[in-house]
């Protein structure tokens, strides 16, 4: 290690290269593991996995599932009504349950109370509505009084084209007796839940609740970072290779002496690999912390999520750094092993 210390300036570039590679690996792993896990948690904790549709009856008026894997559900009653002289799709729901099922809903305003509605952003634009405005809803069954807009909903989905009202209000306005669909959140045995609901004569559809675009973005970000990490690690390995080759050429007399004194090839390789490993650690440790900062930045800026520390990422980053250092050292170590002490000590 002393020989590493006396040549620290020469090895600094290689260590910096390893550090950059380690930073990419650490941020990639943190984002992959942490953000994926958080997305998964949100999916399992709140999001719906299934859509339950009525069987023959047309409506679901009594939905009281008793399967232990069902951890939540929200009823939806869809119908059309006239609002400001335009046909608009309305959705009646239990706002508390629906909010838990759809944690990515962005609401400008608050969730509706009695005689209030939540207006999808596209509808709000179309009807020139904003939070605090009033509107009336007309159907063949009822000409309602005034509803106040409690907030504007932005989901990036077709829900932006709807007006959401309280489920009981919806039943009265539409003249329908139950939900047209139910979002169900399942934790665990999803196939068991499907069988259970189908046995009760419901139609069941699996749905993907994690926003597809976020998932795609995560995958693209991972791919990009994997490519960058790969090339940075290759560059680090090449940098180390060139530094080690130079070092071995400079130290050929020292190596020749070591061999003359009885240093075997395995021990000689171990000495150089230990030096490489030390460089891997020297680059890997700061690289990990830089990678964490990078992951935090990407998490906040792209996924709007705070990433948390993962001990296994530290170990994997250090392992990758050492591996890269070893890969870059293999050729130089072979060169060191091939040194003929007799030739070197003769001064040739």
């Amino acid at each position: 290690m002393k020989s590493l210390w006396v040549r620290k300036e020469k090895f600094l570039i290689a260590i910096i290269a390893i550090m950059l590679g380690a930073a990419m690996v650490a941020s990639l792993l943190t984002i992959s593991l942490d953000i994926k896990e958080k997305m998964g948690k949100e999916l399992r904790g709140y999001g719906a996995n299934l859509i339950v549709l009525p069987g023959e009856s047309g409506y679901i008026d009594q939905f009281k599932p008793e399967h232990p894997a069902i951890i939540g559900f929200a009823p939806f009653l869809y119908f059309k009504a006239e609002v400001k002289a335009k046909k608009i799709e309305l959705a009646g729901t239990d706002f508390k349950a629906a909010r838990e099922m759809n944690p990515w809903w962005r609401i400008e305003g608050v969730l509706p109370g009695p005689q209030e509605v939540l207006v999808g952003i596209n509808v709000a634009k179309k009807l020139e509505l904003k939070t605090g405005d009033s509107l009336s809803i007309q159907t063949q069954y009822l000409n309602t009084g005034s509803f106040k807009v409690s907030g504007v909903l932005d989901t990036g989905t077709s829900d932006d084209d709807k007006i959401f009202i309280d489920f009981e209000n919806a039943k009265q306005i539409s003249g329908k007796n139950g939900a047209t669909s139910i979002q169900v959140s399942v934790l665990g045995d999803i196939e068991g839940v499907i069988s259970y609901l189908e046995d009760k004569n419901y139609k069941v559809k699996k749905i993907r609740q994690v926003a597809e675009n976020e998932k795609a973005l995560l995958e693209k970000t991972q791919l990009l970072m994997s490519l960058v990490a790969f090339f940075v690690l290759c560059a680090a390995s090449l940098g180390l290779l060139s530094t080690m080759i130079t070092s071995i050429l400079e130290r050929s007399r020292e190596i020749g002496l070591m061999k003359a004194l009885g240093c075997g090839n395995n021990r000689l390789a171990a000495i150089f690999l230990a030096e490489a490993g030390a460089m891997g650690i020297a680059g890997g440790v700061p690289g990990y912390f830089i990678g964490l900062l990078l992951a935090q930045f990407i998490g906040l800026e792209i996924f709007d999520m705070q990433v948390s520390l993962k001990p296994e990422v530290f170990l994997l980053t250090i392992a990758a750094s050492i591996l890269v250092a070893f890969a870059g050292s293999l050729l130089p170590v072979r060169r060191a092993i091939s040194i003929d002490p007799a030739v070197i000590l003769r001064g040739e």
């Binding site: 002393k2 006396v6 070591m258 004194l261 009885g262 240093c263 090839n265 002490p341 007799a342 003769r346």
Partner: protein, 215 residues
């Protein structure tokens, strides 16, 4: 004991050593002498298992070293041979003590106490923690002798050990070799120095790669 029979060493088309035959008894002091290019260092490298002969037989301490693999030669050298070079060959960033201990590290385990003792024996007890660059040529050679001795080898091979030293240091180094010889170690020295030639019990005179005479 060293027994060489018809040793040949060729480098491509050049024959550095031709049919060299001689014997060095256990505990004997033998000098290898001859003009430059006569094959002295080649012969020393063969005895020290740093190189392999093209042909012939070489028995060192009862082992036919020409038949050893590279790994076995390294092990043999580590356990039986102490090497002293004209150019000292010390590791520049290690202290005198560490330069001695590195030979212990390759042999078995490091023992600082033993390494200090070896350095004190060659009169370097006061320079243990000095780097080679802080030592004179004579001091460096004494550290190298301590390094050669540290694993208690039966044979000491030295290539022009006084070649880079002044008269005073030459005498100091020769005194150390005399002490080692009196302890019963086999000493083989490549030298041009007639004074060393006089000390030795045997002289292997080389000329153009051939053993001219053994006296």
């Amino acid at each position: 004991m060293i027994i060489a029979k018809n040793l040949v060493k060729k480098y491509d088309t050049t024959c550095a050593l031709k049919d060299a035959s001689f014997t060095v008894e256990k505990g004997e002091w033998a000098n290898i002498m001859g003009p430059s290019g006569s094959g002295k260092t080649t012969l020393l490298n063969l005895i020290g298992c740093l190189d392999t002969p093209t042909d012939g037989s070489l028995l060192v301490n009862g082992i036919e070293t020409t038949k050893l693999s590279q790994k076995e030669r390294t092990k043999f050298r580590r356990e039986n041979i102490g090497l002293v070079f004209q150019q000292f060959h010390m590791i520049p960033h290690l202290t005198a003590l560490e330069n001695v201990m590195i030979a212990q590290y390759f042999h078995s385990i490091e023992d600082e106490g033993e390494a200090k003792e070896a350095l004190m024996r060659v009169g370097m007890g006061h320079r243990l923690h000095h780097l080679p660059s802080q030592l004179s040529g004579g001091e460096q050679q004494r550290v190298c002798i301590a390094r050669a001795l540290i694993n208690q080898p039966g044979i000491i091979l030295a290539d022009e050990p006084t070649g880079n030293l002044d008269k005073k240091n030459e005498e100091a180094v020769l005194d150390i070799f005399k002490g080692l010889h009196n302890e019963g170690r086999t000493i083989v020295i490549v030298t041009h120095n007639p004074e060393i030639g006089r000390i030795g019990e045997k002289t292997i005179q080389l000329s153009h790669g051939e053993v001219e005479c053994v006296t």
